[in-house]
Subunit: 274 residues, 2 copies
């Protein structure tokens, strides 16, 4: 069997890399991109076999532009993965926390460590694009006095020392990732979760009717987000995740929605990992 190519956003040591390792093991080729768009594209063109993409965070909610990519590149959601988020404060070896004047990280990571930094008001916080990339820069440039917030793997890869462990404010925080693939394969399992998009007709109360039908048919909603349809100011699409017990009933409900409510697009059917 040839090695799988897995597309991720971020440098080695990033959270995406962690998920790729957990899901596909060590024996893969990691294709590392610095934006999400080329990640999606690499799967669409066949350059990558799979992509790992963050899609939802328990603090930040949906990472919306990634839904848009999934939709536009016609990708299939093959699986999901919940990664517990643990933030480590790290710096060049030999420094103490008092030596750190500045911490650079992704705004979301900084937000998630708010309480910790409130206790260290002399540390200046700066936004950066990536968490692990800052670790890499500190190591490359041998920057003293600058800290990164990233994963234990990033500390290992770039030879940094962890100054404070698990500094995230909320302890059971997680990020939800989806595993993307190009083809819709024939499923060798019975799914109990699906990601869909429904573009509703412009009728009063139609969303309430749609959700009533889904609820009556045993389709629980684990996520909903409205999206204005571009250039049609009064129409809305809804990205939804739904969990169900009976796959046949799910399929029948999707057909009924297509007939009565509007256009249905199924991004993928998979097994709930929560």
């Amino acid at each position: 069997m040839s090695t799988l190519n897995i597309a991720i956003q971020g440098v080695p040591g990033s959270f995406h890399h962690q998920v790729a390792l957990a899901k596909f093991g060590e024996n893969t080729e990691i294709l590392s991109f610095n934006q999400f768009e080329p990640v999606a594209k690499s799967v669409a063109t066949g350059e990558a076999d799979f992509a790992v993409m963050a899609i939802e965070n328990s603090i930040a909610g949906a990472i919306f532009p990634n839904y848009e990519l999934l939709d536009r590149y016609e990708l299939t959601v093959r699986d999901e993965y919940y990664l517990p988020i643990a933030h480590q404060l790290m710096a060049l070896p030999g420094q103490k926390i008092e030596d750190i004047k500045e911490v650079r990280s992704h705004p979301m990571a900084l937000l998630q460590c708010k309480a910790f930094f409130a206790e260290h008001p002399s540390i200046e916080l700066k936004d950066d694009i990536d968490t692990a990339a800052v670790s890499k820069q500190i190591a490359t440039h041998q920057w003293k006095g600058i800290g990164a917030i990233a994963s234990t793997i990033a500390a290992d890869i770039y030879g940094l020392e962890i100054l404070a462990k698990d500094i995230q404010t909320v302890k059971n925080n997680f990020t939800r990732f989806i595993i993307l693939q190009k083809q819709k394969e024939i499923l060798d399992f019975i799914p109990n979760k699906a990601s869909i998009k429904v573009t509703l007709k412009n009728e009063k109360g139609i969303l309430a009717k749609l959700l009533t039908l889904m609820s009556e048919n045993g389709l629980d909603l684990s996520k909903i987000q409205s999206v204005p349809v571009i250039q049609k100011p009064w129409e809305y699409s809804f990205f939804m995740d739904t969990v169900f017990e009976d796959h046949q009933v799910f399929k029948q409900t999707m057909e009924e929605i297509q007939e009565r409510f509007g256009e249905v697009k199924i991004f993928g059917e998979y097994i709930s990992r929560k």
Copy 2:
């Protein structure tokens, strides 16, 4: 009357600055922050009288972390503003588009100009934190061969030349901003729109019932987004915007939701500007 202090995220010339000018005129003090968190905080502490904050984009959907800030800092939504998004490609004066090797901007701005850059494949795209900040850096460091995507105002402020006008792919794209204030003031107008958060009891089909009630009472939904309640994995909150004709009916409906469905928090009542 003393000058109003208006908090914005971004440097002068940013889209937030544009909205602040449009809404409050020239005779204000702009407090410029590089993250959204201190923007919200400055209103909560009274340092700023108002804040201007992007909350929704017709491509990106909801800018979720800003809802979280609005919620956490107990701010009031006083008004909304729709800014048509127009992206200009700019660089140091005297350069041609063929001279530009690299364009740096916010990932969202790059995404919004996708079709333009597909026609200029030799230009490398790089993510940056801010749009206008790149214009400022180009001017400060006199960087040749590097372009920014920002507003006409940014080109004026930093003395850059526009190489290509209105390069956004979708022409009627807009960003929705909200105007934030600390106090809930007594309204001198009758509102027809409100931003609310409802934290629902964990009951099967409860969202469908809630939306049915709202629809029957003439409360149209212009936005809905589910948010997992942190540390309560099976509970959800929903951020919603609703448009209505009768303010009294709106208030009665909120009371009924509070009694029957769960906790209601009203972020603000205002006039729809769409």
